[in-house]
């Protein structure tokens, strides 16, 4: 509670109100604060609380002060709460209702509900960190002072701080590791095992790594950069759909299909709009880490693409090979591109075609066979293997 300062309750110039909720009581740690029930306001920069009767009584705290927060469900005779863990008090903090408090967390108790939406908006703000991009005219003091890391702490805060430190170390490691790319691979793997980055942060991280690699180029080819980027991007789904979270049966498969739709879009575009189901299976399970998916569940989820109107489709070739493809990925285009490539080279085997398009041999063969079926190509089956020619007959 000692992180709060007195405030006039007015928003600064660049500050915007995000949400406000009546009937919120503050807790200093596990104890009720000596303040009454009031209104909790969340702005882009601060968490503000105002007494419901006495409007003069208003306190605020910068969002940068927050380490992390969690929900606490309601119980019998107990309102739902949000527990907010805080950084240590900054040195130049303005005075507030509490001079000193023993614990470094507060609770917001929602007497009149609304905690779900409040929690959601708080999460959003904490992810966007808008207070960083648009600083208010009057500087708001942050808690991450120089002495922050040196303070000894035990319990949850200690763990949090360790996580924070480890994250910083990872950052440092990444920079270091550019001396040796293979070392980096090992380190990144560790980072994934130990730290659960929010998905967005992960993407940013991988992007910055990819950029750094690009700068270094020289001995690293474009191809490797892309592969490395996709390696990073394909890591970690923040909250995978599991049987535990969504039950079993149709609902589970539907949710799974939606998640697949989100995560497969980018890899599919990079691979020319089509991936073999086996490839999808590997990619998805690598991303899910511990919550592995069974092949049946994957197939069932893929079968839902169409009914859910997702931009993906499961396609079964005549040979029984199953692929996931983008809906925009039309058959005519596929055949036309196959014909173009074959005409250009005179003749192609499935292997050569695969190399040309960066596809798997299996898929490139399916495309050639499809074009043959439509009468655009013809085959030469000799001891040298199966070659496809433009259909000149």
């Amino acid at each position: 509670m000692d992180r709060f300062s007195w405030s006039n309750g007015l928003l600064e110039i660049n500050e915007t109100l995000v949400i406000q909720q009546r009937g919120v009581r503050l807790y200093d740690g596990d104890d009720k604060a000596k303040l009454d029930v009031g209104v909790a306001l969340l702005s882009t920069h601060r968490l503000i609380w105002r007494d419901v009767k006495n409007h003069e009584c208003c306190i605020a705290m910068p969002l940068s002060q927050i380490v992390f927060f969690e929900e606490q469900a309601a119980g019998i005779g107990k309102s739902a709460k949000i527990v907010i863990h805080l950084h240590p008090v900054p040195a130049n903090k303005e005075p507030g209702p509490y001079q000193h408090s023993k614990v470094s967390y507060i609770k917001l108790s929602f007497k009149e509900h609304g905690q779900i939406e409040f929690y959601r908006r708080l999460t959003e703000e904490m992810n966007q960190k808008r207070w960083e991009s648009t600083p208010v005219s009057q500087p708001i003091h942050t808690g991450t002072g120089s002495q922050a890391g040196k303070t000894r702490a035990v319990g949850i805060v200690g763990i949090e701080r360790k996580i924070e430190e480890r994250r910083k170390e990872t950052d440092k490691n990444i920079s270091e590791a550019f001396e040796d790319l293979s070392k980096l691979m090992v380190k990144v793997k560790n980072a994934v095992v130990f730290i659960h980055f929010p998905a967005k942060e992960m993407v940013e991280l991988s992007r910055s790594i990819a950029n750094k690699i690009k700068d270094k180029q020289g001995d690293i080819t474009e191809d490797e950069t892309i592969r490395f980027k996709s390696y990073l991007l394909s890591m970690g789904i923040a909250n995978p759909v599991t049987r535990e979270t969504h039950g079993s049966g149709t609902h589970y498969h539907m949710q799974l299909a939606k998640q697949l739709g989100d995560m497969l879009q980018a890899p599919l575009e990079e691979r020319g709009g089509m991936m073999a189901l086996t490839e999808v299976y590997c990619l998805v399970n690598r991303a899910r880490g511990m919550e592995l998916l069974s092949p049946e569940d994957l197939v069932n989820a893929c079968k839902m693409f169409e009914s859910l109107k997702l931009p993906l489709r499961l396609r079964v070739f005549d040979s029984g090979v199953m692929v996931v493809q983008l809906q925009s990925h039309s058959e005519e285009e596929m055949i036309a591109s196959a014909l173009d490539n074959v005409s250009e080279k005179g003749s192609l085997t499935a292997e050569e075609f695969a190399k040309l398009l960066g596809l798997s041999v299996l898929l490139s063969k399916e495309r050639l066979l499809l074009a043959e079926k439509m009468g655009h190509l013809c085959r030469d089956d000799s001891v040298e293997g199966l070659r496809f020619y433009p259909n000149l007959f």
Binding site: E372, K373, G375, D380, Y389, N391, L392, F393
Partner: protein, 174 residues
Amino acid sequence: MSFEWPWQYNFPPFFTLQPNVDTRQKQLAAWCSLALSYCRHHKLYTLDVMEAQESPVFNNKKIERKLSMEAIQVVFEELRKKGNLEWLDKNKSRCLVMWRRPEEWGKLIYQWVSKNGMVNSVFTLYELSNGDDTEGEEFHGLEDWMLLRSLQALQTEGKAEIITMDDGKGVKFF
């Protein structure tokens, strides 16, 4: 005059039986015409399937492709359907190739006869196929069985009658 190969002959897929129905039809049509024109150029009337596989028609040494036995059978069967081929045995190992059907031959012979004003005269079969008068005509050197067939075709049209003579057969044109 050397035989002129069609463009397909140097196109490797020509030697693989195409799975696509439409493509296969065009391919077979090309094979039929190649086989017939080759036989016609070399005046071949009978073919042995085993030998045919080694003959240049079905074996292009330049591009190292040859038509498989099954494919040759398919081509021959196609020719048979069109009336250009007849099997000589049940095993389908030897066949008669009629790059011109008997009726067509008959027509040619009759044209020659009427052109030379020899309607109503009698010829021996030998005279027709090997006589000095027919030298330079397309049916010169026609094999006996083929000649007889074409004359039979003419006979059904009422343009000729085959007569048996002491030392063979003869024909009278009307």
